[in-house]
Each structure stands twice: as C-alpha cells, then as structure tokens.
Symmetry: C2
Subunit: 415 residues, 2 copies
Amino acid sequence: MSEKTASIPSGSVINPARRRLMAGGATVIAASMTGLAKAAGTGNAPATPAAPGKPLPPYVAWKDPNAMIVHTGSTLETRRSAFGTSIITPSEQLYIRNNLPAPDASIVADRDGWEISVEGVKHPRTLTVKELKTLGLETMATVLQCSGNGRGYFPSKPSGTAWQVGAAGCVVWSGVPVRVVMEALGGMVDGAVYMTSTGGEKLPDGIDPKSVMVERSVPRSAMADALLAWEMNGVPIPLAHGGPLRLIVPGYSGVNNIKYIRRLAFTAEQTDAAIQRTGYRISPPGQKGDPSQPSVWEMSVKSWINSPAPESGPVPGGLVQIKGVAFGGIHAVQGVEVSIDGGKTWQTAKFVGPDLGRYAWRQFVLPVKLSAGTHTLACRATDAKGNRQPEERMENAAGYNNTSWRDHALTIHVV
Amino acid sequence: MSEKTASIPSGSVINPARRRLMAGGATVIAASMTGLAKAAGTGNAPATPAAPGKPLPPYVAWKDPNAMIVHTGSTLETRRSAFGTSIITPSEQLYIRNNLPAPDASIVADRDGWEISVEGVKHPRTLTVKELKTLGLETMATVLQCSGNGRGYFPSKPSGTAWQVGAAGCVVWSGVPVRVVMEALGGMVDGAVYMTSTGGEKLPDGIDPKSVMVERSVPRSAMADALLAWEMNGVPIPLAHGGPLRLIVPGYSGVNNIKYIRRLAFTAEQTDAAIQRTGYRISPPGQKGDPSQPSVWEMSVKSWINSPAPESGPVPGGLVQIKGVAFGGIHAVQGVEVSIDGGKTWQTAKFVGPDLGRYAWRQFVLPVKLSAGTHTLACRATDAKGNRQPEERMENAAGYNNTSWRDHALTIHVV
C-alpha cells in the first residue's frame, strides 16, 4: 500500500476524494466502484432516486453522482431537483463544461507558483499567484452559466449539449480585482478596447492552435468587476473548475470565465481564435458563426422553478411552496412572478435569504394551494433595468441564451 | 462486492464519502486508509502541510483531514489556516462538537419522515419534516460557534476542549421559521417564557436522562428569527451536524442550536436538564454552575485574524493583506480595526464580499507594509450597538465566551 501511496499526485483533482474516503469503509468503496451506491439515499439526493446515468468521469469523480446528469466526459449538469435553497451551489453539485480536457493535476501541486502574463499595460510582466495575493482581495458571488443552458428546449435540436437548467450555479469567488492588477502595472495601454484572456489547457499536437485554444475577448468595460480568482466556495479552486487561477467576468456567460488563465491582455482587437471568431456567436438559424454576429457576452434576466418538479414525482394537494432561482445576468434581478395556470395569470413571488449582490441569483418562493390534477407552473423575472424574461426564445443556430419562460415551464401532477 | 453493497446504510453520514470515492482510484484509497495522504497537497490545504494529528472519527471521515484539528472523537475544530475568504465555511471544514454520540444513520434514510412534537401551543401536535416543508421557507446565514471557542487561551486551563478559533463557522441554513410553525398551531399558550428544545440523541441506559439529555431553554424572544432547518450549505443537513432537522437560534451559542430536534415546547420554566441547570453557565472562577448564573445564550462581538498566521510559516516582507473574520453575535457587526503593533495603534480594516446579514460573519482585509522582524497582529470588532471587543477575557470557571482581542493576537515573523 505504501508503494501505491507514493504515486499519488498532489492537487485538488484527487483530494476531494481523499477527504471523504474513510467515511463509509470498504463496503462503501465497493458500492461506489460498482455504481450501486447511487441507489442509496444521499446527503443531497433528489426526492426520488437518481435516474441511472453515465458514471462520473474520473477527474470529477468527487462530484455528487445523485446531483449530476452526465452528458459526456466534459459536460455534466446539475439535476433540477438537486438545487437546494441555500443560494450557493455546492462545488460537488456544480456543472462542468470544458472545451478541452483539464490540464494535468500537477498544476495545482504548487498553486502559488502558477504564473500569468499580463500584457497591454504600461509595464507588462509575469506575476505568480503568490504575488497576486499581495495586491488585493475581493470576494463576490456570481452566477456561472453556460451560454447553451436551456438549449435542450430548442425544438430545432441544435448541435451541442441539450442542457436543461443545470448548466448554471451561483458560486462565491475570492481573488484580486483585475482593475487592481492593471493599475499596479501602470495602467492600460492606449487603444485597448478588449480584455483578452488565454487558458492554460495543453493543446493537442498537429492542429492549428487557433482552431482549438480557449482564448476569449470581452469589452474592456467588463474589467470593472472582473476578478483573478484563486478561491471558490471557500477552498482553492478545484482543477476541474479552473484552478489554480480563473478569470471571473461577472454577468458574462461561462465561456468568458477563462480557466487556468495564463495570459491576460488588453488589446485593440478581439482574438482571432476560432472560439471567438466563429464560435459562440448568435447566428441566425441555418447560418454559420462569423465575427459580424453578436458574441455570447452579457447574460440576460432569467429564472426557473426547481420545486415542485415532475422528476420528483406526484405532488400532494394542498399548500405547496413553489421554489426557484432568478438572476439578472449583467444587471441585478428585481423581482419574479409565478404562474400556476401556464402563464394566464401571475403572482409576485417572495425572495428569500440574503442578497449576495448584483451578479448572484436569488431564491424565490411562492406558497400556493394546488388541487388534484395537472398544473403548468411558470416563472418570469425582471431585472433592475425593467427588462422582463420573454415568453419566447430567441431562435439562433447554436441554441444560445435561452431565457424563454414558456420553454422553462413545468407540468406537474397533483394527487 | 454486491453482498457488501447491500449492507450499506442510507444517509448522509456515509454519502459524502461515496460521492468522492472514485476520484483517485485505488492508490488514493490506499493512501487514505494508511493516513499517508495527509502529506499530499490538498484542494484546501494550509500553506504548510497539516501537522500530524489524530485521524478523523469514522462518522465525520468525510471532513477534510488537512482542515481539521481532531481533539477527541466528538470535538474537532477548523484550522485557522483553512478558513478561506469566501464567507461561508464549507461543510467539510466545519467544526464538530457533540454532547452525545450522533444517532444512527438510519434517521437520515427517510428525512421527510422525521417527526417533531410541538408543545406549548394552542393546538399541540406532531409534525413531519414533509409537513414542515409545506408551511414556509426561510434561508439565513448564521455564525455557529461553540461557547467554549477560545477556551485554549485561558491560562487557568479550564476543563473542556482547549479550542482556539476554529470551533466556529458561518453557515447557510434553510428551513421554516419557528414563528410560522407556532402560528400555524394556534399560537403560544399563555405564560410561556422560554422556548425549550430536545435533541433526538439516543440516551445511554441506566443513567438519569436529565443528567445527560441535550435539552436547552432560550428566552422566547429568541424565537423571532429561529428556524427549524433541514438544509445546510445547499444540501440536506448531514447527520453529524444535526440532520434531518436542527433548531437554529441565530446569534446564540452552538449548544442552543439543537440537533435532530424531536421536541419544541414553549414553557413557563427553563428545563431542569443538567445541560441547562448547571451546565453552560458563566460561573465565577472556582465555582460550580447553578441556575442563578448567566446561561451561554447570546454571543458577543468578536473577530480574529486568519492570515498571516504563525502556523503558515514565515511571512515575506513588503505588502501583506491581513485577513480575518468579524461578527457581532446577536447584533450585526459594524466595523473592525487591526493593529500591527500589539494594540498600541489601530487602523480600520475593510469588509470584503457580500453582507449575508446580521447573524453572519464578514471577511475583513487590511493591506499593510511589513518589514523584517517580529510583529504582533491584533484585531477588535465593534457591533451595531457600539459594543467593542474587549482587550481582556471575562474570567469564568468553564472558559466560555472568550472575546479578548489580546488573547487572539498573533505574533508573526517577517523575513
């Protein structure tokens, strides 16, 4: 055994497992290895046993199997019924969407030693995480959401993961404001219009790097609240979520929040990497992406109901607490209305719990009396600018930015 | 293997382990079993490898071994260096203090079926968690702190765990307000002065139940913000932390937050259980506890520095971000001052991150320039009522409620 232990790589990719290993002893290990444990009740299981699904990929095997829907090895979403009401999404339930495989765990063996090159400033230089930690500290809750969240509701079945609501979570980040780093290096160069960031993924050989690299540009205005974060939900950012260092661009779609960031540059042009030039564009149905089309940048106001949900089985009649989440994207969320008749009439729901700020989501609840029969539940949120969640989705080729309240409505059976 | 798996009890006591089991494969399992894994870097390890200590007890083996100091099987505290800056304390790092062994995991196999008897109301009755969930929802962040947190700084070495700062955490709870339940049952009976709650621990045979049972009374005024909670940090409350149902009394010491609550009663008198009558009393040095002395109820304003800390090794000179937590107890925390000269002079620190409400703690940060040599760092918080953290501890026999800023000062070496 001691020989085996000598071969353990350091880094959080394995440690969440190690933390938990002794909890159940050998029988539990056996259960997990055979996958049978999914049938057992869990600390955060859905009200009904999890549907059988693909096993968790090894690099995120520390996730809660009962909370996750595994689409592919690089795309996992949170089950609607696993979203709790405590605002923050626990890391073991947070969705995964990686454009490239995660780097080797060795990069989190020495987190403070990770280096980022900062360019497009008066005094460009490379900084270690250890150095970044001396410059400042900010902590912020943001909704992290894949731009394709809700794609599963497009009848056109666009290519890409058919996410429902679970490619999103509300996460607390700690790091240093990009603004502070930029100012510490003499300020932005003249003519910089974009903040362009490059991920630290290892690129496959024999392919034009620009065709696969994760490099995104966002308007320089997005820098105002952006963070270079080293902590997520109270612990160093797990490798699978971008540790040792991740760019957080509050209010922007997930793809703009660059994992294992190794380069941050203030640039006059957007990067010509494919993921920016033709990828993640809002293209008319049937058309390919091109730079003339809008990029998936700022998120829009959105909400959905987590409970009661069809997947949790029949609902007993009488008093029912309808619960869900609502967020404003780039703006704060102002309010949310709930309908129990498919959108004919609406009632104002109540936000519960602390307000974690403009970029966080809020939990809402509405108590209603439901009689036996079938009911269609819907919700629609309004942001601080008065923008209201639309009834219909914005059709686009790739199925991005689905905020349609009708698409997200739920039909439940009350007994 | 399948035979073994058939024997797995349901319930969160084992599931946090199961969630993580496959993350590292057999070598990791081997490592954990032999305890050697503690030497490996971890997702949320202190800056220096964890000091060797007692292994985690099986019922909380899902905790992070690098984040916890194991005093005994029923007393574990969070390492100062493991407290992050994301406000909420991750469950796997939260302290444990149990007056009696946790009940069997079978009580979390059917969480919704757990029953609580509500007495001292017009229409007393027993309610299941499933019924409680239909009555209402509130979500709240509170500081959970053992009344003996800081006892380790008493030179008198009172009996009981010598906690430093880690018998505390900031946790998000979801449940139904006690007020809502009380009103749903016709309101409080006349003459009720206290809210008396009983834990669901299995009592040892052959002993007077009153001598060991966990039953606490708090003033009825504490009911205003009290919750009957079923969720903690986004998941059903783990057994070790009081699931399926725990009473949360915001602003009150940990012992008043009754785990596995099975009875809630509005009473004219305080319970005569030993844990209330003579236990947890603020007794003059050398004296035994008695009902004439103050009970450990409301918490007072307190703060401490988490970084830099001596346990994290020498600190490089230059710009240093001094970080810590501050809370007001029963009142909101208003501000915190930091001293780098042992209390001779003070500077106002800045709160960072969202304000999670009156009963939560806040992270603070103060950037300072530190030269080579030895420095004594201290902090003192002030609450919304103007109460300031005192320099000296309040001496008492059992070492409760230590809020002395001098006791909590840190001496660090800058190189």
